[in-house]
């Protein structure tokens, strides 16, 4: 009885940390987290799907390097609040608006990293593969992309982590995942909600980063073998 009163007391007292909040709003928190995850995942995946051809284009036709790199950098300087607002007349209040904005931001980091990875592939390797009769597509898929993978994954990790953080700004149009709860919590001065959603957001970024790091290790077993060799 007293325990229960103390437990619900933290909601009434508006404490920063409140177990009762976690229990009573777990559904709301889960929904917001799911929205946050899928907006982030969709943005990064679409970003990757756009960045890869752009990086290949720049490499094949160096005269496109200036315009493509310049434009993606330019996009990065546009404030997120402004970006979402400028896209508003096109998409209306929708998740597509937030995803589009986040895709545009991720391009700067992804294009640069993929390009750097591809350019770091040694010419001898390329020559050797060509000599073995590899066509351009097979060369790209079986030699160049695997070798560019560490740089690509590094870019992907940066893009993902910053996209998780930036998704919160989508609260402006009501599609910000955990940002919605933060926004709502500020309006109603609900401390437990703001702190819990903020902490979840940071945890989400950390988990995403670790998962991508794990994926990178699995995809590039040779890098591990080499570092083990160097270590031993």
């Amino acid at each position: 009885m007293t325990g229960e009163r103390a437990a619900s007391g933290c909601l009434v007292a508006n404490d920063w940390i409140c177990g009762e909040y976690l229990r009573s709003r777990s559904g709301e928190l889960a929904d917001a987290t799911v929205q946050h995850v899928w907006i982030t995942a969709a943005s990064v995946l679409i970003g990757l799907a756009v960045a890869l051809p752009l990086a290949l284009l720049v490499r094949a036709r160096p005269r496109f390097a200036g315009p493509v790199l310049g434009l993606t950098t330019l996009l990065y300087t546009i404030p997120s609040l402004a970006m979402f607002s400028l896209l508003l007349p096109v998409f209306g209040l929708s998740a597509a608006l937030v995803v589009t904005g986040l895709v545009l931001y991720s391009l700067t980091i992804l294009v640069r990293n993929i390009l750097a990875g591809l350019q770091a592939v040694p010419d001898e390797v390329r020559e050797a593969a060509r000599g073995m009769g590899y066509g351009p597509l097979r060369l790209l898929c079986e030699v160049e992309l695997p070798l560019a993978l560490p740089a690509l994954m590094a870019g992907l990790r940066i893009a993902t982590v910053s996209t998780v953080a930036l998704t919160t700004v989508g609260a402006l149009v009501g599609k910000g995942g955990l940002g919605n709860l933060i926004d709502d919590g500020v309006q109603t001065t609900f401390k437990a909600q703001v702190l819990t959603a903020s902490v979840l957001c940071v945890l989400l970024a950390a988990v995403a980063d670790l998962l991508l790091l794990g994926a990178q290790r699995l995809l590039t077993p040779w890098a591990r073998a080499r570092s083990a060799e160097a270590g031993g």
Binding site: Y76, L81, A82, A165, G185
Partner: protein, 230 residues
């Protein structure tokens, strides 16, 4: 839809939208002030630490980790947390603290990397010529680290100016207020006008810093002096 650009133009050219405490001039001044103070404080904290760590050659993991962790922290969440503490009545302080935290990682990493990428053999040669630690730092390492140092300051500055708009989401000042105010009254031309002003300011800052970078580059100056002397 076709009327939006015209309506935006009308909004931007209406004098009453620019005057008063919620007018564009005042918001612009708030924005520049908050961004400028934040960047200056962040530089004052991050640069000495990064340059010193770079000079003694330690703390690389620290610099990289702080930079990675910094990206994961949502500025909006930090601001929101501050607004629920007594800081909310401390004027621009919540925004400034959030932006300083946001600007430190890129400054720290770039300055540190710049110092570490200075060719070791050049540093050795300078020491061999009898330069003291301070002389090596001031005459060799710093000028050679300058390009990357400036890149860090530039990207931090542009990101601070861009991110300062988020302050409006928790009721703090700056150009973002024009956007959110327009949002709340379903005034699309005002939203787009505010977004344009914020984007233009960010681009202007980028352009000014690129120009300043070229103007003050130590290597450029010596190159010019050398070519003038010969």
């Amino acid at each position: 839809m076709g009327g939006v650009p015209a309506d935006v133009w009308t909004w931007l050219t209406t004098a009453s939208n620019w005057s008063g405490p919620s007018g564009a001039w005042h918001r612009l001044a708030e924005h520049v002030y908050v961004s400028g103070v934040s960047l200056a404080v962040a530089c004052a904290i991050a640069l000495p630490v990064a340059l010193w760590l770079g000079h003694i050659g330690r703390g690389g993991a620290l610099a990289v980790n702080i930079s990675n962790a910094g990206r994961a922290i949502p500025v909006f969440a930090v601001l929101a947390l501050f607004m629920l503490t007594p800081l909310r009545s401390a004027g621009y302080l919540p925004t400034v603290i959030a932006l300083v935290l946001f600007a430190i990682p890129p400054l720290l990493t770039n300055a540190y990397t710049g110092m570490r990428e200075v060719d070791r053999s050049v540093v050795e040669a300078a020491r061999g010529m009898g330069m003291s630690g301070g002389q090596v730092f001031a005459r060799v390492e710093l000028p050679l680290a300058y390009p990357l140092l400036m890149t860090g300051i530039r990207s931090a500055a542009v990101q601070v100016v861009a991110t300062a708009t988020i302050a409006s989401m928790v009721g703090q000042g700056g150009l973002g207020r024009i956007i959110t105010a327009g949002f709340n009254t379903y005034d699309t031309p005002q939203v787009v006008a505010g977004a344009l002003l914020a984007a233009l300011l960010a681009l202007l800052v980028e352009a000014v810093l690129i120009a300043a970078d070229r103007l003050f580059s130590p290597l450029r100056r010596t190159a010019v002096r050398r070519s003038a002397a010969s």
